[in-house]
């Protein structure tokens, strides 16, 4: 770490403090077209999202958040006087289409870097291609371990959100401490999402778990699983599932008269989206997320209901000034937060960034960045894992209240610790001010 700090100081001196205005002003030299996708006046980023199809509700709002943030950033001068151009394309959550649009982004649009590409199966299809082509693949929108735990295989890929295993561990520890007598049932998506979460949770409460039921994505009947949890006598159910299955599990439990304490992992717990889904699935019989009232969940980002959180205030302003139609949602906050981290990365990559330089900068100084995310990132040469910590929250109405502060951990048998840092406050205009990292 000292080497890094020294290097940062040295680079600051070398740049004559020129980049102290949040990278908005140019440093010592001239802007050059230093790599693919970078010109003297612009820098091009790309991503893939499900904008149409079954996965589109919710997720399709993320890029609008990213774009709004970059539009506002560009009004303030962009990064080193370069405007950030953000191109996002629809893959309909189909890996074959992800592969097509990624080819288009890399070969045709010639993006400098991929950021925030969404989905585990979809991004799996392009991770090899991006790494083979040497395209930085930053901040994948998925909590799979794949993007971060093996930087030797995937040197260009970086995770961003808390991985599912760490999330499972934090949930497990919380239950062991607060509900030591609970009989816990697990409701799991039958893939790595559920598997990683289960592995984490079992590290702490293996002996408390009375049943683990799995559902297959696409099969909308979860009656057998919920009935099995009820039959096993589980009075506390932890769900590692996507939002539509939160709604389905709630409706099924309602039919069966089953009322355990629910705990949904972060992915499946957005009350607004789940409320909408409940309304649709029940054909209007359940109109909002009131069923979710009192359920527990985790958080690693501020949510729109935290109206006094300074980040949310800033994001509200950005959405008003630079966003499109509709309200600020938690998915847009997610996109804006990713765009914030991306801006930090671009600033750290220096005045004339290269693809290798960007990756080096994230490895070297990414672990020190502060932002809307509650806990620090784990970026280093040995790990490309994203943020490491989470709070535990209780859903109340369309919002939530914190029941346990931020605790941080890592994959494997790493300890869980209290996060002792302060919550970061946003800089002016919510534009970061990172120094250029120059090796």
């Amino acid at each position: 770490m000292t080497v890094v700090a020294a290097a940062t100081v040295a680079s600051t001196l070398a740049a004559c403090g020129g980049s102290d205005e949040g990278g908005g002003s140019s440093g010592g030299g001239e802007n050059e077209a230093s790599d693919t996708g970078v010109t003297e006046t612009s820098i091009k980023l790309g991503a893939h999202y499900p904008l149409t199809g079954v996965a589109a509700p919710g997720y399709s709002e993320i890029p609008t958040g990213v774009k709004a943030y970059f539009d506002c950033l560009n009004k303030e001068g962009g990064v080193y006087d370069r405007t950030v151009e953000f191109i996002y394309k629809d893959d309909a959550y189909n890996p074959a289409q992800t592969s097509q649009v990624t080819n288009e982004l890399v070969l045709n649009d010639e993006i400098f870097a991929m950021m925030s590409g969404l989905g585990t199966p979809t991004h799996s299809a392009v991770v090899d291609f991006l790494n083979d082509e040497g395209v930085p693949d930053l901040f994948v929108s998925s909590g799979s371990l794949m993007w971060g735990d093996d930087p030797e295989t995937y040197p260009m890929s970086f995770g961003w959100q808390t991985d599912y295993e760490s999330e499972g561990k934090i949930i497990g520890e919380y239950i062991a401490n607060e509900f030591p007598d609970a009989k816990v049932g697990l409701f799991l998506q039958d893939d790595d999402f559920g598997e990683d979460g289960e592995a984490g949770i079992r590290q702490y409460i293996d002996d408390q778990i009375v049943a683990a039921e799995r559902y297959t994505p696409g099969n909308t009947n979860v009656g057998p699983q919920i009935a099995a949890l009820k039959a096993a006598g589980a009075d506390f159910v932890v769900g590692f599932n996507v939002p539509s299955y939160t709604a389905l599990s709630q409706l099924t439990a309602l039919q069966l008269g089953y009322q355990p304490q629910w705990f949904y992992s972060n992915v499946g717990s957005d009350p607004n989206l789940v409320g909408g889904l409940l309304n649709r699935f029940s054909e209007g019989k359940v109109t909002d997320a009131a069923l979710l009232d009192g359920a527990l969940t985790t958080g690693y980002l501020p949510t729109v209901d935290m109206t006094d959180n300074p980040w949310i205030t800033e994001f509200q302003r950005i959405w008003q000034e630079c966003g499109g139609e509709g309200e600020l949602t938690n998915y847009r906050v997610y996109g804006m937060s990713q765009a914030y981290t991306m801006t930090q990365a671009l600033q750290a990559a220096g005045q004339n960034p290269t693809r290798e330089g960007l990756v080096e900068a994230v490895e070297a100084v990414g672990g020190e960045w502060e932002g809307p995310v509650f806990a620090p990132f784990r970026y280093s040469e040995d790990s490309h894992m994203g943020t490491s910590g989470m709070t535990i929250e209780r859903i109340v109405g369309n919002g939530s209240e914190e029941v346990q502060g931020v605790r941080v951990t890592d994959i494997g048998d790493a300890e869980i610790e209290e996060f002792d840092g302060e919550a970061a406050t946003p800089p002016a205009n919510a534009i970061p001010e990172e120094e250029a990292y120059e090796g």
């Binding site: 904008l51 149409t52 399709s60 890029p63 609008t64 774009k67 191109i87 996002y88 394309k89 629809d90 959550y93 189909n94 890996p95 074959a96 592969s99 097509q100 080819n103 288009e104 070969l107 045709n108 585990t120 199966p121 979809t122 799996s124 299809a125 392009v126 991770v127 090899d128 291609f129 083979d132 799979s144 998506q189 039958d190 893939d191 790595d192 999402f193 297959t216 994505p217 696409g218 099969n219 499109g324």
Partner: protein, 391 residues
């Protein structure tokens, strides 16, 4: 749409007008048609070999003159076209509808993924062949059931295949990698390929280009085989089964056996297409083989003209090139990227409806119908003139 529905269901019944409009694309027998005035040789095999050679030269020119991104689009086109070629033989030639070709492609893709996953993978041609064989095995099983079914019942049975088979990959997730699928690492291009590209154009022999060539080679071979097959006794028998079930049976044709054969041939093409897809996409995952894939293939052959290989190729090209085109059009009209993305399926739907209304036999089918009509009129006029002269 009425033609699409009537053609498979009419296949089972004896109708007065044997050649259904929808399958007009399948009926032009170029053997006689081109024999009138053509520089191509009379022998079907020789003629197809010449066409194959010409197409190969054309394909190399196309691949070398286009950008790397267009190369990747062409690679995508090849796997759609291979599968659509197989399906058009089944539906256009033999009158059986299949909504399950996406599942047969999945069988090919997963076979490729599993075989390439080994520590010392088999040579690529063997892997491709194995993928074809697995799809053939499944196709034969389904074909036996399909041979007894007609119209909506057949559609339903194959629909079950399309929905059910990818689900197996999730159920046996330890073997098939579950929802996120199996990543596929395509073998490196051989050195011969690099020197070939160097000689032809001097372009960079990237992995994208190699995959595009691989797909093109598979496409040409598939279409060569299929073209020969449909011009042979087998193709004629299939058409007999399609058009006049009773007459065909009276002529000593075993309907069931020929239907199963058509399904098997079609499945083989789908299996190969799946293998190419796995290589090009670098992944075999259930979400890549949804019902949408099967339906896209069906729309491709309907748009192009049922029963015509050229039509299948055209329809596949529309699948690959129309959505990005519509999206860019939408974006140039000032829509944001989310809205522009939503325009693509809409435009595709509109095109499908317009084609069904104005050219119900598909592109190729309609051109062939026109040509046949023109020829018939000319012959009539000639006959009338002759009659008048004699008088």
């Amino acid at each position: 749409m009425s033609d699409l529905q009537s053609s498979p269901s009419a296949a089972g019944k004896a109708t007065d007008e044997a050649p259904v409009v929808a399958t007009a694309g399948a009926n032009a027998s170029s053997a006689q048609a081109s024999a009138e005035r053509s520089f191509l040789p009379q022998s079907t095999l020789l003629r197809h070999l010449l066409v194959l050679l010409g197409s190969a030269v054309l394909a190399v020119a196309l691949l070398e003159l286009s950008t790397p991104y267009q190369n990747s689009q062409l690679a995508t086109l090849t796997y759609y076209a291979i599968a659509a070629g197989g399906l058009t033989v089944l539906t256009g030639m033999n009158g059986q509808i299949s909504l399950g070709h996406g599942a047969l492609m999945a069988a090919g893709a997963y076979t490729t993924a599993l075989l390439l996953d080994a520590d010392e993978p088999l040579p690529l041609p063997v892997v491709l062949l194995a993928s074809v064989l697995v799809a053939v095995a499944i196709g034969a099983l389904v074909g036996v059931a399909a041979a007894r079914l007609h119209g909506p019942y057949l559609a339903g049975a194959t629909l079950a295949l399309a929905v059910g088979l990818p689900g197996l990959a999730i159920y046996f997730h330890d073997i098939f990698g579950g929802e996120q699928g199996m990543r596929v690492r395509a073998p490196q291009a051989p050195e011969a390929f690099e020197s070939f590209i160097d000689v032809v154009s001097g372009n960079n022999a990237s992995s994208t280009k190699w995959l595009a060539y691989l797909g093109t080679i598979c496409l040409l071979i598939t279409y060569f085989f299929l073209a020969n097959l449909v011009r042979s006794r087998i193709g004629r028998t299939w058409r007999a089964v399609r058009d006049q079930e009773v007459a065909a049976e009276l002529a000593g044709i075993n309907l069931g056996a020929w239907r199963v054969l058509a399904f098997v041939v079609s499945a083989a093409a789908a299996g190969l297409a799946g293998a190419v897809l796995a290589l090009v996409v670098r992944l075999a995952a259930p979400s890549g083989f949804t019902l949408v894939l099967s339906l896209s293939l069906l729309t491709a052959i309907v748009l192009g003209g049922l029963g015509s290989l050229v039509g299948a190729l055209l329809g596949s090209a529309l699948l690959v090139f129309l959505p990005p085109f519509a999206r860019d059009m939408g974006a140039s009209f000032g829509l944001d990227q989310t809205e522009a993305a939503q325009v693509a399926p809409f435009v595709y739907g509109v095109v499908l409806i317009v084609v069904m209304i104005f050219v119900p036999a598909g592109f190729v089918g309609t051109i062939r119908l026109r040509r046949m009509n023109a020829k018939a009129k000319k012959a009539m006029a000639q006959a009338a003139a002759d009659a008048a002269g004699r008088r």
